[in-house]
């Protein structure tokens, strides 16, 4: 019955994804290939299936553990819904400290933009990839509690039509029919690499929308501590460890305020100032 059946591991959570339609299954795999794993006998996998109904005009249904969650005439919409579900579930289960942020890197030094949804972190992340930075994530800064190392979460970037036009990006390989015409782009579509090796947080950049030119000014580390705790997905699971982690990250990175209106110019400013001129603290 299944045209495709694949296994993915995202931030430590394993998923089993099947599709009754070859094209849909291949589109999903194109977006998630980086997370693909060999099938294994480990229990506790979350099961998702995309099924094209033979009745009612051939609409597509997304099932989670055999329970229907979404139904839509467009397979692209369903694939977008699947990506959202996987993201939410992975972040809900992740064992690392995780905060809502866009994250890039250069030579192992990580720069994070903690921000709420809609504040422009994905757009700025994409602009930074186009400016030559490596990709870590457009969704979450994940840090191992034990080592303090950043764990990459290179999910497909979710960019609105406005963002894609502002950055003059090419059409995505997989066009999603999501609300606000959001598309999922892979970092390679932006000419970027995914960051590898040991990653350490070096800079935390707080974003402020403005009408004027991009400006980058230093901030006290306590601002970063407060922001990371506010933006954390899972501080409630290990509250004292999260408090200590936020303090550790704030002490061992440089904090900045970035005023921006044009993400491309902001990315160039970051590339000029953070990559070459300033070094992270060593504490």
């Amino acid at each position: 019955m299944w045209a495709t059946e694949r296994y993915y591991e995202i931030l430590g959570t394993r998923f089993h994804v099947r599709s009754s339609n070859q094209h849909v299954g291949d589109a999903i795999d194109q977006l998630l290939h980086r997370f693909r794993r060999d099938p294994c006998g480990v229990p506790g996998r979350r099961r998702y299936a995309v099924v094209q109904a033979k009745s009612d005009g051939g609409s597509h249904v997304l099932y989670r553990d055999c329970n229907p969650k979404y139904r839509h005439e467009s397979w692209a919409f369903i694939v977008g819904a699947l990506l959202t579900e996987l993201n939410l579930e992975a972040l809900g289960e992740v064992k690392h400290f995780a905060a809502h942020a866009g994250v890039i890197a250069a030579e192992g030094k990580v720069i994070a933009f903690p921000a709420e949804s809609g504040d422009g972190k994905s757009t700025l992340t994409a602009a930074c990839l186009a400016a030559g930075f490596d990709y870590v994530s457009d969704e979450a800064l994940c840090v191992e509690y034990g080592t303090g190392e950043v764990v990459a979460y290179p999910k497909p970037l979710g960019l609105s039509r406005w963002s894609r036009e502002a950055l003059d990006l090419p059409s995505p390989r997989v066009q999603l029919d999501a609300p606000q015409d959001e598309a999922a782009l892979l970092p390679e579509e932006l000419g970027a690499r995914v960051a590898t090796g040991t990653l350490r947080l070096a800079h935390v950049v707080h974003l402020v929308r403005t009408e004027g030119e991009a400006r980058l000014e230093p901030l006290p580390g306590s601002e970063t501590m407060a922001t990371l705790l506010r933006m954390s997905f899972n501080h409630y699971k290990r509250p004292q460890d999260s408090f200590a982690m936020a303090a550790h990250l704030a002490r061992n990175s440089r904090s900045w305020r970035l005023e921006l209106s044009d993400p491309t110019k902001a990315a160039r400013l970051l590339a000029a100032r953070l990559d070459s001129e300033l070094q992270p603290q060593e504490n």
């Binding site: 006290p220 580390g221 306590s222 970063t224 501590m225 407060a226 705790l229 409630y236 509250p239 004292q240 408090f243 200590a244 936020a246 303090a247 704030a250 002490r251």
Partner: protein, 125 residues
């Protein structure tokens, strides 16, 4: 009428007022709070400092407080050794301003610490 009474952390001055009705004297005692020391910090708190600013974690309430510069300065003096008046005077000297300029803010910050259960005196209450 005044009386003195031992109070945790030091001696406080009590102001008393007498009210007589139907032959029964009711003595209302008001504590002169400004003579009482502020603090010390609640024992269970986890305290850390980043760039000179203090952050506090209360594991009982699972609540974190990140203090700004002024609040951090006030916090450092909420050590169970200083009264509110002394805190105001010390900070005014440090900031080179008249105590009256910062008194309201210091009182507000200390009230915030008490409301958040950050001071040991709150535990005693």
């Amino acid at each position: 009428m005044t009386a003195t009474t031992p109070f945790a952390g030091g001696v406080a001055t009590a102001r008393c007022a007498e009210h007589q009705e139907g032959g029964v004297a009711t003595i209302l005692i008001g504590m002169d709070n400004e003579a009482a020391v502020v603090g010390p910090p609640a024992l269970h708190l986890v305290e850390t400092e980043v760039d000179g600013r203090i952050s506090l974690y209360d594991p009982q309430r699972e609540h974190a407080s990140v203090l700004n510069e002024t609040a951090s300065d006030v916090w450092r003096l909420c050590d169970g050794e200083h009264t509110l008046d002394e805190i105001v005077v010390l900070l005014a000297r440090a900031y080179a301003v008249e105590p009256s300029r910062i008194r309201d803010e210091v009182e507000r910050v200390v009230a915030g610490f008490r409301d958040s259960g950050l001071l040991a005196e709150a535990e005693q209450q």
